[in-house]
């Protein structure tokens, strides 16, 4: 059973505009998937729809085996952790730990204190437990919101533009946090650099699914990216340029780690080429 199973999903807004058209996506347990696309592509709408907040729709949606319809909204939401774009929308309580506890308390879970502590630890904000969220920085508030969602132990995390509005440092820290979380995830974003560091698979959405595949394939698929108005990650751009300049780039890297490794490999190959001459003939330049 797939954690998220969407089949032939179509949804239009009240005024008639089509938001999603014949979308079919599935997410396995433990997978991390990015839903990328330009603004207005329906990424956010898709996430909110999965959480049962956009009805009626045509097609089928199932989360952790539960079919989503008018009556099963609450049931489906028990398995989902939806992170909103603006953390202020999502923080209700006077202290951080109380806010993180909000979900577990409402769902009647056991060991609320333990859950809260673990959630705070997994996003690195245990020291903020007694602080007032109102006063925290935007980046910290996002982490509080994530902790609040993690504390509910959902089967799948739905993150709506998690890196938007963050300064570079906070963004980098958040990416590290998301990498470290071992949970099924669907991230809606247009920040491909961040997505590249976190997910294995990507879905390009532009009202309908334009393309699906691995992240590695996506960073090389120039026409797909262009068609969707997306910028490839910086690393991919760099290595593409280098390949164009004549260097021996064998794989376009996705993550920074891969980039460093490939860069080192290119250097090695380049040094080797200068030593050995082109295609194995002797002599150097």
């Amino acid at each position: 059973m797939k954690t998220v199973e969407v089949s032939g999903l179509s949804y239009s807004y009240e005024d008639g505009t089509v938001a999603l058209k014949d979308v079919s996506i599935s997410v396995e347990d433990g997978e991390k998937v990015a839903v990328v696309g330009p603004n207005g592509a329906g990424k956010s709408t898709l996430l909110h729809l999965l959480a049962g907040f956009r009805m009626p729709f045509t097609g089928t949606v199932a989360v952790a085996g539960v079919r989503l319809d008018e009556g099963t909204g609450d049931q489906v939401r028990r398995n989902i952790g939806l992170l909103f774009q603006d953390p202020d929308d999502q923080i209700f309580m006077p202290t951080v730990e109380e806010d993180v506890a909000f979900g577990p308390v409402n769902l009647g879970m056991d060991d609320v204190q333990g859950r809260v502590e673990r959630a705070l630890r997994s996003v690195g904000i245990e020291h903020l437990a007694k602080r007032r969220p109102h006063r925290l920085s935007y980046g910290m508030k996002k982490r509080v919101a994530i902790a609040g969602v993690l504390a509910m132990d959902p089967r799948v995390l739905l993150l709506d533009e998690p890196t938007s509005g963050l300064d570079p440092r906070s963004r980098a820290e958040l990416v590290t946090v998301l990498r470290g979380i071992k949970r099924t995830m669907v991230i809606a974003t247009h920040d491909l650099d961040a997505a590249a560091e976190v997910v294995d698979r990507a879905v390009v959405l532009n009202t309908s699914v334009a393309w699906q595949g691995s992240m590695a394939e996506l960073v090389s698929a120039k026409d797909v990216l262009e068609g969707a108005g997306l910028e490839p990650p910086q690393t991919a751009k760099l290595f593409r340029r280098m390949a164009g300049m004549g260097y021996d780039v064998q794989t376009v890297p996705v993550t920074m780690d891969q980039a460093a490794a490939e860069f080192a490999a290119v250097i090695e190959r380049e040094a080797g080429r200068r030593r050995d001459g082109p295609k194995g003939t002797g002599g150097g330049r």
Binding site: H48, A51, F53, G73, D74, R77, R78, I80, G81, L82, F84, D86, D88, D89, Q90, F92, M93, P94, E97, E98, A101, F102, G103, V105, N106, L107, V112, V116, R132, H134, R135, G148, V149, M152
Partner: protein, 251 residues
């Protein structure tokens, strides 16, 4: 007889919660604090004998002093409530004599002070939570909590818009006849409302997404302890004594 309204809520709401941190009052159960202070306020409102009214005021001041709430904060808050008190006291003073005027001032001040100490010594959320546990309907207390949350956000927005307005050269009108002034004022107010409908819907989704179901429940349910008992007993006894003496005098 025009009275200038000083009520401007200059104390920003979030500061209230800051003061709560410093006081031993925070450790008490909100229900106990509410019951104790309310009993005191009701009793005080029934007093007309001057000596008793002054006694009540003395108790109120003592409460304030012992509460460890910064006096400056209480003074500022008291000033906010002053206009109506002054008008009432002054007119009573003029028409029914000095003693009655003093009674009026002392009685209203005693009540206001006690309530301000209660508010300053309690987390706002706990205050509303306490009301809920005292059987105020859930829809009311949930509305109170959510409204308070939104007030914090919107007050910031309003302040930012006012600054933006001032930066563009408009400070404030001179009188009601200043139509442009009033119009700008109401447009600022209008802008705050327009975005709030979406904010409300997003908040609803965020609440449901974390399992909200009619109640805003706190993490730990506080229990009434010995200290709470002492608190209530103190206010109950002193209030009862004052009332008995009042009834004795009135005959």
């Amino acid at each position: 007889m025009l009275v200038a309204h000083v009520r401007g809520h200059r104390i920003r709401a979030e500061e209230l919660d800051e003061y709560a941190r410093g006081s031993w009052l925070v450790r008490l159960d909100a229900r106990a604090k509410l019951v104790g202070v309310l009993v005191f306020v009701v009793a005080t409102a029934l007093l007309t004998e001057t000596r008793l009214v002054l006694a009540s005021l003395a108790l109120s001041v003592a409460f304030a002093a012992m509460s460890q709430v910064p006096p400056r904060h209480l003074a500022k808050a008291y000033l906010g409530a002053l206009p109506f008190i002054l008008v009432a006291s002054a007119s009573v003073f003029l028409f029914a004599g000095a003693e009655r005027g003093v009674d009026m001032w002392a009685r209203t001040s005693s009540c206001v002070l006690a309530l301000l100490v209660l508010a300053s010594g309690t987390e706002t959320f706990d205050l509303f939570s306490g009301l809920r546990r005292l059987h105020v309907p859930a829809i009311m207390t949930t509305l109170l909590m959510l409204t308070y949350k939104f007030v914090l956000v919107m007050a910031d927005e309003m302040a930012r818009m006012t600054v933006a307005r001032r930066a563009r050269g408009f400070g404030g009108g001179r009188s009601l006849l200043d139509r442009r002034g009033l119009r700008l004022l109401s447009y600022t107010a209008g802008m705050v409302f327009v975005r709030s409908s979406d904010r409300a819907d997003r908040t609803y989704e965020a609440l449901k997404a974390r399992g909200f179901d009619k109640e805003m429940r706190p993490m730990r349910a506080t229990r009434v302890g010995a200290l709470d008992g002492v608190f209530i007993a103190w206010f109950a006894t002193s209030s009862a004594l004052l009332l008995v003496m009042q009834l004795g005098v009135a005959g």
